[in-house]
Structure formats: structure tokens, C-alpha cells
Symmetry: D2
Subunit: 366 residues, 4 copies
């Protein structure tokens, strides 16, 4: 292999393949061993492509068993695609706007994909804690039917939210009612739906199908998969166009069995989805409890899922980053010196305790 | 799990997870064991997400070692995305049309993704064997600069072609020259580039960088990966916008190390890409040689890579399908009773010989 | 005003505002005096904007009187928009491809707008004379329901065609039947629909509503308007989303009364649309009859509307262009030395006779 | 003509073609007589289409004389198109977001066209009076270069604003500097640019070219044209792709001379643009001065151009609407009982005085 070009030399070397455990994101963790085993097991034979295989059929059935017989699951590669294509599918011709929280992944972290790929317009609502209310749905009412104003066709909520908070089933039902009475659909970005169910102690169905959600982006990658998300239509007729949208949206896997097999592992007998989410939530609670008493650390939001949001002095943040590396955690809101610490299915109590000690030391060092 | 709904009952049951070896597609085969080992090896630790990891850096470097120091590789999930986003990136504002063969995957098998996702217009050329010529590039010359006519910004060729034929390095150079002198870029759909290099006995570089290709969709999935394709810019400044396009195109993997690690296995020391491609080509040649002498079988194109295209009586096709299942191979052109038989990195001589016997029997059964 | 910049000097000066009568295009002619009078008459008062005015209501009613009570007309600025937005509206989510003739304006002259604006894919059919057949509709049948292939949602025909030929009512009915039995809509690009009706001696309704057409782009600009086209849904439920599409498609006129008033003049009592079209057709016939006997002039297509397509020696074409200016007519197909001569609502017999003399002279001059 | 269908009977009849003078919008007024004369004058001969005519050349030259020799003007049909296509053109591949005011037409009144047609994402800033500040431009700084966040490629300001306020030249220069130092372009939505120039007593150039604006949407329709807007690139190299974008954006007029001739009348010797704008502004000031002293009427914003925004009791609004019709003016913000009264180039002092009396009566009637 040849020597690096000037461009390569300018770029900082990536960190070594050594241990980099941290709290930056639940997608820094790897693949759950059982998921990896399921991939290997699916590799034993030839299979039909594009979903024409028994693993896909089994994973689809598992979604029905969890979310109800009306559930229609389709697998895609990542969360951006799940959100964008789900909304593209349910927003009909005359109503291509989507009401969502200002903090939503859809608005902040999809790089404009909803607009670019699906031509959707986001109607963004500020929220204190990432949760929309029926009032947020009602806010466009005076422009209803006005051809000059982008008409909302869907409401999109995130469960658990980007700020680590959780909607109760009743809150979701109220938003669903507000959406439906205006002819809008309700989409749920469930990249961390498992964490919300674990936190509430309810089934997946109680906070989706039973609460009036029409379509869910069901996250796998952040809960131990190699990659894979599912778009699940709970109002099945809304999803009739999805297979074509998925293909034309460049999200149809040829060797789909290897995505489906992961979901089979996640949703099957061992309830891996729940075990992983409960564990991650527990670790976040442990971390919150460890840092809350530290003077100079203020929790920014209730810790209801697997994320801890805290405010601490800028100098302390910088000390932590200097000691642990930039990748140990992200600054969430630099204006407010707010950081985000995410726990994963494989975060250990030792990871948490060691990190909390570092935080205490960094804050106390002034 | 609950009992099947009426909709499920209507749908035919997928085939059992048993042996389904066949010649339908090189994406019916599974994951090469070394690739799977590379995934498992990459699972030992935490890693940065979205490509900020050492596996991605290593895989990028391997592309430079194969294609030259100017090569800039970016990983995406599938071939549709590689093609569409590569062309989206290189076709500038005023020239959003793409010249391609009528038989191209871009035109026949992307479900309109180039048009829908990137707003590109395809200018389709009929070809006898899937290969464009400089004359095909020149065919729009009289509309050059006409604001009413969609101006071509790129030419897209496929190597090896969808019809199992292969461009020589000189043929590619001639097309590149025709494109460049008109201010167009040259894109190469290399879902099966490895098979072409193996067939020609040349390096990857000789039929890409050295032949004037500006950007390649480099296929991994059909050559033993779980999933993964690379968009490789050989004229690097054309790819400056690609990272944003990839993210906004919903193709940025969060746990990217598991895609990159596969390419590391494919392109690294063992030259797995070449071993697999040579083998698949050899199996196709073996199959062609076995069926060519059979009366009632006519080869439709020269067998230059891993695909065999043949014409046989409709009744014989139906007998084969009845015996082996619809998934054993596809009818390529029903008007001409033409079938496609694809060989994979793991097709065995026994698979080939057994299948050739079945063909002989089916044709002879009239 | 300041002196010209270098860029201006490089650009050739536009021709003087003098007489430039010619046969280049029916959009080189001006505004019919009655149409201009209608604009002036509509200028006498304030009016509601965006179509909330009585001229628009009256023009909509005139379309119903011509095309039947189910007709729903919406006005847009130009023909590109009429075609693209009409097809955008009728092609549902899962079927975004459009079958059309290779010679169609949609394919040749919209600069990729169908692809870019509506994400539509064109499935282009070669034709001898610009007319599709039911067989062209059937040609994608073997890919029906294949998620990899862009599924056609509409067929688009042009009446009269870009080659000056005319579909009979029966031919349209046959195409409509072929489209409808496959679940596709039938769109008619009627930029010169008036010329076709005049040629056939039938009502507008007989070749649209009664022939099974679902939506028409009805041309005004080429038949004496300042500007203005109408998208008319004959299957009204297909047009429910159109008002939003038109606005979001940047085609909603604020002072719409000035577009509508022109259509009121065109379609009202004097049947200006028919008078103008009959005249233009007559002039084309006169021209064809004058040039047909000339040795060295060959008519390329039957002259059935207001266009004459002829082949003559390249040297003769050049002599004509040298004498009359490049704007006197266009070369239609430079490979075949084919030219196009269009007649307008205001072409005079003297224009025709003088031009035919010039042609004879140019051809004879060799 | 036939009798109305049920659907027609359900729809309320449009108001009679009688006098409907009011303050609802400056696009309820008609065509300035000199503009109409210019259209008629341009109708005397044949002319090249699509801008290949002397009126277009003359109008382009007039833009250069007003805005500087670098100005490159292109005509489109309406303001939505001017804004969307201008921004589409200047926002390069990697930076497709646009910073704009929450009150902007772009966000509130284009029905999602920026998102749908150009794939742009709007980054919306709340403002007290419709005017952005350099701080609004800086607000995305912490996400600069983050591939997950839609990167802004342009800032769009409106002059005069949708709230009837006006940016000073210095304020525009400061925003331009903030945009340019971040590599963004500055777009100005000048649907009412004439009113701003008239209000400030400066040339058009001082608040565009000289203030660092890169591209202007120059409004004609609201200042006395039948229809027509211009996209004027002041940084000319940014507009190289515009002719293709305009055509593919369905905004290229075939008989363009009739659009250009209007701009020739507007911008030519009589400075019609300025006369009309000064008059409209004067009428707005007259109206503001007449209603300001009325108890129960509160002006919502400084009256700096041709719009008056006022708050009055809901009951008074309803009395006014009952008396004068819904079309006499619009409720701007129903939550705050705020109305908008727009003056036009042809609003008369009598219109104003009569309306102010009605307002006083309606407010006093409680």
C-alpha cells in the first residue's frame, strides 16, 4: 500500500482500535452477540433476495405479534430512511407538511432529507422537553385549507424523545386524537421506542397501536443490531405504497435475510429488545443518581430513558474532554453548557461509576 | 405468536429455510466466511460512529491502494444508492441528464430512483450487448446548449454489463474521451467490476482510473458481502459534495465500521474480491460450455463474466421452473424466451454440472 | 443608460423590432386582438386574486360547456407546467412512470422538468409519426407489479402530435381502453388540441371526454393568447389535489383574471379557438400543396394540422436561412435534413405564397 | 351553456364584476395603463420566442442601468418562482438550507414550494418586525460543518418586509457581511423592493448591489404589471445555471416579449416603478395617520412602506367585514386580532378617507 497523500496527512488519524467505551451515543456500541449469531445462522444457505425469504416472513410475523395483527413491517437500512419514507408514504398529495418538535431528529439531524428526498415541509414547534402537545397540533388551525400555506398531513413525535423524556400512553392518545380529527396521521419516531416501553413498563403495543399511532419507525441499530430499522404501518392501508417508495428510495436490501434475521433475534423469545433497553435505562438512572448530588452538575431533564442531560461549567466539560477524549460524550447545547450522556445495552455499572468519578473530579477541580 | 390473518393466508408461504442453491442471482448467495469473520472481529470494542473509526480509514486506504492515490471512497448501503448519489453528485446544475444503455440497471431496475431522488433524466440508448459506444455519447450533439433539451452531464456505463459482457480498457478510454470532450463525466456502475477485472486479467485501476472513469459504484454485495457498496471518486474534486449528499440521501450508516470492515476483508491481503470473481466467472464459463452443445439451447451473448444468457423453448423453461422452482433462475426477456443464469463466488462445479444436466433433460423432453 | 459590457458586445444583437413574420413556431405570432381587448376589459376594476374572480368562474364554466359538466379547469402559465403538474397529480405513489412518444414535447422539450419537478420517469416509445398505439401501452406488461421497475401510472399522448399528425377519436378510445384496463390514466397534451378538432371536424369533447381522456393540457398560447394554458380534469376526482400542486408548483397567478379573461375570449361565443385553428390548418395545407410539387421537396408526414414537415437538400436549407434569417423556420432533424414550417392563427395566404416561392427558388438554385 | 352542477351550486358565487376597491392586497389592483399600452405596442409584429426578442434585451439592459453593469436579469411568471428558483440556483450541493424570517413569504405563503421543488430546508427565525439581524445568521454557527445538520447556503431577507417595515442600507450590509463570511449568499425577496427604495429615498442599487445582495427577486406584479417578476443576479457567476433551472422549473415564457415589455414600461424613462411605489406608500401613511388617533385602533408596526398593520377589537373587525365584504382586507393574525391594510399604485385618497371613516365607525359602534 502506498504512502499517505497530503490530504491524508492533514486529516487527524482516527483513534486506535483500542477500547473506546464512553457515553457519546448508543450507536458507538457494537452488535449484541445473539444478533451476530443470528446473522451467522442465516448464512447457512441460499435465499431469495429482496425479502423473499423465511427470515423476513418470520420477522414480519414477530412485529404482528408485538404490535397487533394489523401491523405491516418493512425493513430499511437506517433511521433517516425510516422517518423520511414513512412520512413520504402517509402524507398525501395535498398535505405535505409535518408538525414536529424543534428538538426532533427529523429537524435537527437528517440533514434536510425530509425536504430533499420527500419534498416535505417541517412545521417546527418549540418544546420544553422534546414532547409535543395537542396544542402544538392545533397551532396551524387558522391556516387550514389555505392553499398558500403548506398543509400538515402528519404529526411526528419521538418516543423516547431526543431529550431522554417519555410520553405516557395517554399523552400519545391525546396527540393522536388531535391529529386524526384534523385528517392528519400520527407518526412515531421510535429509534428508542424500546427504552420508552421499558421505562413505562408497558408493551410496545400500548404506546403505539393502542394509542392511535398510524406508523412507527422502529429502531434496531441503537439497541444492538449491526444495522436495521423497521417502518411499521399500524393503519395498514396507509402503507400500500411503501414497497415502491422503499425501492425507489434506495432502501431495499438485496440480501434482506441478514437484516430480518437480526430483528428475529431482537423481537423473538428472549425479548432481547426489552432486556437491552431495560439495562440501558438502568445504567442511565445509575449515572443520574451518581452525578445529581455533585455540586456543579445540574440535570437538565428528567431521566426517563437511557440518556442523561446535564449542565456543568464549560471548564469542567473541557477537562473531561481533555482527559477522556472528545468521543467520550457530546456537548448537546453549547450555549447552555449542556452535555448528553447516553447509555447502551452494553454499558456496565463499572463504566458508569468510573465516569461519574471523573465528572466529580472535573467539576471539583476548579 | 398469533394465527395468520386472511392476508397472510392469501400470500404463498415462503420456501423453507432449506437448500435453495440456484442461478437466479449472485445476491442469493450468502456472506463469505472471511467477511463474516471481519464483522465479528470489528465487534470487539466501542467505535466512533458515521465513519469516524479505524476500519473505515483502513478500507478507504485500500481503495487508494487499488485505484490510485486520488481515489476517494465513501460507503453506502446498496447499489441503487451508489448509482443515484454518485450521479447526483457529478451532474451539475445545468446538465442533469445521464446517457446510459437501455439495458442498464439504472434504467431497468432502480424503480425510477434516479428521477425521483435526484431529478435526473436518463437518455437511454439501445445496444446489442449492453455496451455503449462513443457514438452513443455523440447522439445528443445537435441539442447541445439547447435550453429546452435536458443537457447530459454524465455518461454511465456498466462493467461487466447486465448482459454478462465486458468493456475492454480501450473501449472505456474511448467513451471517457467522448464524454470529457463534451464536458460530461464518466460514471461506471461496477456492481460486478471485480468480474470484469478478473475476466480481462487486469487490475481494477486499469479499467477505471487509468481509463478515464471519474466515479465508480464499486459493488460488494454481489461478491460476498452482507451488504455494502462504495462510491469512489477518481476525479476527487467531483466528490466534494458527496458526504452531505450521502447523509441527506439517507445512506450514512451509524455503525459504519461493520460495512467498512467487510471491504477491508474484500480488498485486503487475500484479494478476496478477485478470488471470488474469478471463481464465479469460471463457473459461468463451465456452465456455458456445458449447455452450448445442447441442441435447443442458444447462447444469447458471449459469456465474459459470471452470467450466462441463453434462449430455449418456452416449454423447456417451464419444465425447468416446475422441477427446480421459480427461484432457480429468472426469465430475462419473455418475448425472446431468454433466461439468465448467474454464478456466484460460492457456486460449485457440482451445482453447475447438475444444473446443466437438468437443462439438457428439459430441452430434450419435447 | 450605460454602455454595453464586453459580455453584451459578444452576444449578437437581437433582430430589429421590424417585421419578422415566418414559419418557425406558432408562438412567434402575437396576441389575437380580441384576446387583448378581453385583457383590457378585465382591467376596469379591482378583483379578488388567485382565481377568486368572476372571469375565472366564467372561463371554468366555458370549459364545462365544451368538455362536459364533469370538466374541472385550472389555469397555469405555460405548457411545461400544464403537462408536468397534470401528470404529477394523476400518477399515484406507486406508479410514477409515464408512457409517451419519443417525439413528445414531454421528452424532448421540457428540459427534464417531469423528472426534476415531479420525479416522474418517462418510458419512451419510438413512433413513425408521433402517435402511440395500444401496443405501446402494453409493452411494459411483463414488468407489471415488479417493484424494481418503474410502474407506469399514466399514458401521455399529444393531439395534434409534434409531427403535425392527428389521432382519430377511435384511436384515442383504443389507447384509453389499453391504459384504463391496466389502471393507468390517459393524459392528453393539447397544446394544439384546437388544430386537431378543426382538422377532424369534431367537437373538443369528442376527442377528449368522450374518448376516455382523463386529463387534458389545453393550450392557449399557441392559439392567440398572451400566455395561458389550462389543466382540465375530465375524471374530476383525479384532480382533487391539483390546487395545492399548482400553488406548490409555482403556477398560481395572483392576478389570475388576466389569464382567465383570455380563455373567456378564446372559448366564448365567437369560437375564436376554432376560427384560429381552422385558419392555421388551412394555411398549412396551402403551404403543403404549394411545395409538394416542387422537385427536391419531400413531405415527411401527412399534413393534418398546422405544421408542415419537409425534407430538402441541406444546401437549399442553408440558402433559405441565409436569405430569410435563421428565425424563419427551424431544422427539425438535422440528420435527415428535415425542416418544420408552422402556421399560426395570423399567417396570411401572402405569407405562404411568398415563402413557397422562396423554397422553390432555393431548391432550384442548385 | 349548460346548467350548474351540484358542486357549482354548493360553491358561493364570486362577487360581481363591479367595483371591489379595497385594502386586501396590492395584487387586487389591475394593470397600470402604461403597462397595458406597452403590451399592446409589443403586439405589432412577429418576434422570437423564449426571450430572443428586442423587448427582453431592452428590459435586461434597464436592469443593468438600475442595478449596475453586473446585473443579470431573467424573467419569470410569479414571485414564488422567483424566490424558489433564485435560491435553488445559489445554494450549492452541500448547503441546501436557507435562513429566513418566520414571517417570510418563503415560509408562510409558498405552500412548501422551496422544499418540494428545490429540496431546500428553511431555517426559520422569529423576528419582532420581519427583519433578520446578523445574529440570526450566526445562530447556526455551532452546527457548521456538521454533516447531520442541514447546512445553510443562503440567507433570504424581504424588503420591504411582510410587516411593512424597511431595512436600512446599513442593516442589509451587515447581514450581507454576516452571510458572506460564512460562505452563504444573500438573497433579497423584493416583491415590494420599489416601496422600500421609495420609502428610504434611495436608488434600487443602494439597497441591493451596493449593500452586498447577491440575487434579487424583483417584483412587478404588485406594482402594476399584469404579471411578471425578475430574478436578478448581482453576483453574476452565481446565475450561470439559471437559464436551465428556469426552463426545467417550468417558468420560461414562450411569448416572453409580453413580460419583458412590461418591465420596459416599469423601469424606463417615466420611472413608473417609483411613481407607483411612492404613491402607494403615501396612501399607507395617509391611512395610518387617519386611523392612529382613533381610540380602539393600535398600529402593530411602524408604517414604512405600503402596508398598515393594526389591532382592533374582534367585533369591530367583524362589523367592517360585514359592511365591506370579506375581500376588503385580511385578518393577518387572528390570535392577536391584527389586520392588514395594503395600499396600491392606484389607491386613491378618497379610498383611504372613506375606509378610515368606516374603521372609526366600526370601532366606535360598540
Amino acid at each position: 500500500m502506498s504512502s499517505p497523500t497530503p490530504a491524508d496527512r492533514a486529516k487527524p488519524a482516527p483513534p486506535p482500535r483500542a477500547e473506546r467505551r464512553g457515553f457519546a451515543s448508543d450507536n458507538h456500541a457494537g452488535i449484541h452477540p445473539e444478533v451476530l449469531r443470528a446473522i451467522a445462522a442465516a448464512n447457512e444457505a441460499y435465499a431469495g433476495s429482496y425479502g423473499d425469504d423465511s427470515w423476513t416472513a418470520a420477522a414480519e410475523a414477530l412485529f404482528r405479534s408485538h404490535l397487533g395483527e394489523s401491523a405491516r413491517a418493512h425493513f430499511v437500512f437506517n433511521g433517516s430512511a425510516a422517518n423520511v419514507l414513512a412520512l413520504d408514504c402517509v402524507c398525501r398529495q395535498g398535505a405535505r407538511a409535518v408538525i414536529c418538535a424543534e428538538s426532533s431528529h427529523l429537524h435537527q439531524d437528517e440533514a434536510g432529507a425530509p425536504e430533499r428526498i420527500a419534498g416535505l415541509k417541517l412545521l417546527v414547534r418549540p418544546t420544553p422537553d422534546g414532547r409535543l402537545t395537542p396544542g402544538d397540533v392545533a397551532r396551524s388551525d387558522d391556516k387550514r385549507g389555505d392553499v398558500h400555506y403548506a398543509q400538515p398531513g402528519a404529526v411526528s413525535i419521538t418516543q423516547s424523545t431526543e431529550l431522554g423524556t417519555v410520553y405516557s400512553p395517554g399523552e400519545i392518545r391525546a396527540i393522536a386524537a388531535a391529529a386524526h380529527e384534523r385528517g392528519m396521521c400520527l407518526h412515531l419516531d421510535g429509534a428508542r421506542l424500546a427504552n420508552a416501553a421499558a421505562s413505562l413498563g408497558v408493551s410496545l403495543r400500548e404506546i403505539t397501536t393502542d394509542a392511535g399511532v398510524d406508523v412507527v419507525s422502529f429502531g434496531g441499530t441503537k439497541n444492538g443490531l449491526l444495522l436495521g430499522e423497521a417502518v411499521v404501518f399500524l393503519t395498514p392501508e396507509l402503507g400500500d405504497g411503501f414497497p415502491v417508495l422503499r425501492k425507489a428510495g434506495m432502501q431495499l436490501a438485496s440480501k434482506m435475510r441478514f437484516v430480518s434475521a437480526q430483528f428475529e433475534a431482537l423481537l423473538g423469545e428472549g425479548d432481547l429488545w426489552l432486556v437491552g433497553a431495560e439495562h440501558a435505562n438502568r445504567m442511565a438512572t445509575r449515572l443520574a443518581e451518581a452525578v445529581a448530588p455533585i455540586e456543579g452538575v445540574e440535570l437538565a431533564h428528567p431521566v426517563e430513558a437511557n440518556g442523561v442531560f446535564a449542565r456543568l461549567e464549560r471548564a469542567a466539560i473541557e477537562r473531561l474532554h481533555a482527559e477522556l477524549g472528545e468521543h467520550a460524550f457530546y456537548i448537546w447545547d453549547s450555549d447552555r453548557d449542556e452535555v448528553r450522556w447516553m447509555c447502551s445495552w452494553d454499558t456496565t455499572p463499572e463504566d458508569v461509576d468510573r465516569f461519574a468519578e471523573r465528572v466529580a473530579a472535573a467539576v471539583g477541580a476548579r
